[in-house]
């Protein structure tokens, strides 16, 4: 049985105040909680919370020994052999004792999914020190706090909001991985047949029952071209956006990244309406990845879907505003005609051949 494990933000930030193996996990979690509280109040969007979430491991793998013990205990891998002791003094729902060494004690409960096809989630809702015989002992305190019900230890609105952001990230990542593979298979077909598509790119599967919608159409063609006396094969990617959204932009980036992650290799030319064409010279490596993907039905795990390599080559640019562009992340035109967003640390890079040629054409000093 598969079971998700999560820890409430309240438990992480308030109860687990000591003994962190990686203390930065807790300080990042505290910042995350502030961002989530703004999301709950409608003062920001999931995109504001996501960067905080990316800075820490999944909540069930944070660096605290009690969280680690809880994660192991409720993994669902071996439920039959796992002995669980309930907290008998709390009667409104089943809370399970979670222990680590003679010091930490916690309370965990299992929440069933609202959707019958979903998976259940174990939540670590509270934690504290064991102090046998003392009224300050965790279980004594927990029982007193739950005298009129244990709802307050259930996941709160902040935890549900965070879960939603978490699921969005997971769905986006899965969508990118799927698109990456589909494009590689399309590419393999195109390399065989000289043309392939259109591939209809659908939006990520929604959480609700609504339908996915088409975001873009991708078609591929190849042609032979002569480049400096050598016959090479060029691939032209035509993309027709059907919706103008950030997701469509991510679909375009993921499509091109699957074929050739090096942005410097692409030449863009607009077609009618908002359609766009991008050409690239094929490489041996491109053939390999495409045919491997089609044969195995999966892409190389070392390939990162949707990750484009920018700044692999240094360009010359006449743009006087390059410093400003670096700060704002705006694109500038290089002497070779390539557009790029300038970055720091270009000293180590090779200089673009097209730009060098253009520079050599400058009038004599």
């Amino acid at each position: 049985m598969i079971r998700d494990r999560r820890v409430t933000l309240r438990c992480i930030c308030e109860d687990l105040h000591q003994d962190w193996v990686s203390p930065q996990d807790r300080s990042e979690a505290i910042k995350l909680r502030i961002a989530v509280s703004e999301l709950v109040e409608g003062r920001c969007k999931p995109s504001t919370v996501a960067p905080f979430l990316r800075k820490i491991p999944r909540l069930n793998t944070l660096g605290h020994p009690l969280i680690r013990a809880f994660d192991d205990q409720f993994s669902g891998n071996d439920d039959v052999a796992t002995l669980r002791e309930s907290i008998s003094s709390v009667a409104d729902r089943a809370w399970w004792k979670q222990k680590f060494s003679s010091r930490w004690r916690g309370a965990a409960t299992i929440v069933l999914p609202a959707d019958p096809k979903g998976i259940e989630t174990a939540w670590l809702g509270a934690a504290g020190y064991r102090r046998a015989g003392s009224p300050e002992d965790f279980y004594a305190w927990f029982s007193r706090e739950c005298a009129s019900g244990s709802d307050k230890f259930l996941p709160a609105e902040e935890d549900i909001s965070l879960l939603d952001v978490d699921l969005r990230i997971a769905r986006l990542d899965a969508w990118k991985a799927q698109l990456h593979l589909s494009v590689l298979v399309l590419l393999a077909n195109c390399l065989d047949e000289e043309a392939a598509g259109p591939l209809i790119v659908l939006s990520p599967k929604p959480n609700t029952a609504t339908e996915t919608e088409p975001l873009a159409e991708v078609s591929l063609t190849t042609t032979t071209v002569e480049e400096e006396g050598e016959v090479v094969r060029e691939l032209i990617v035509e993309i027709v956006p059907l919706k103008h959204t950030k997701l469509t932009e991510r679909a375009i980036a993921t499509t091109l990244a699957a074929i050739e992650p090096d942005t410097h290799s692409w030449t863009t030319a607009p077609l009618n309406a908002s359609a766009m064409s991008h050409s690239v010279l094929t490489t041996e490596e491109m053939y390999q990845r495409a045919f491997n993907a089609r044969e195995s039905g999966s892409s190389d795990p070392h390939e990162l879907p949707g990750v484009l390599r920018v700044g692999t080559i240094a360009h010359y640019t006449a743009a006087t505003s390059v410093t400003q562009a670096t700060i704002e992340g705006a694109a500038v035109e290089a002497m070779c005609g390539h557009w790029f967003v300038p970055m720091h640390d270009h000293d180590q890079l090779d200089i673009c051949g097209g730009c060098s040629d253009a520079r050599n054409r400058l009038p004599e000093e």
């Binding site: 932009e249 991510r250 980036a253 557009w339 967003v341």
Partner: protein
């Protein structure tokens, strides 16, 4: 059509051109000469073409930096106007070519921004998910 490659222009001539340009009052001719001077000084090849002059698809592809096949995709899509010459040939008016070149620069600028988007752009896409 006349093509001027910057490296073939002596610096002395370029200075003469600049002086000549400043000797004209403000107006189209002054702007034209200034443009030629500035482009050459930046190392850009200058093509002098009449507005109603037409070029072959090969020439257009060269000016735009595209392969011929890629250019034909553009022509077929209707993004760049052309007219037939004889049974099979096509010609492109210079003014249309230049207008398309601006369109292409804009598209490349936007594409570069999408390319550089990375994780932050992924995060923004999260807001659109339901």
């Amino acid at each position: 059509m006349t093509t001027v490659i910057p490296s073939t222009v002596p610096k002395n001539d370029l200075q003469k051109l600049e002086k000549l340009a400043t000797s004209f009052p403000d107006g189209a001719l002054r702007v034209a000469l200034d443009t030629i001077h500035n482009d050459l000084a930046r190392g850009e090849t200058v093509f002098v073409l009449a507005d109603d002059e037409a070029v072959t698809p090969s020439r257009a592809a060269q000016i735009l930096g595209l392969s011929r096949t890629h250019l034909y995709k553009v022509l077929d899509s209707g993004a760049l106007e052309w007219h037939p010459v004889g049974a099979r040939d096509r010609r492109i008016l210079v003014k249309d070519l230049l207008a398309y070149r601006e369109l292409m620069r804009g598209a490349r600028r936007r594409t570069a921004t999408v390319f550089a988007g990375g994780t932050a752009a992924d995060d923004e896409a999260l807001d659109e998910m339901i």
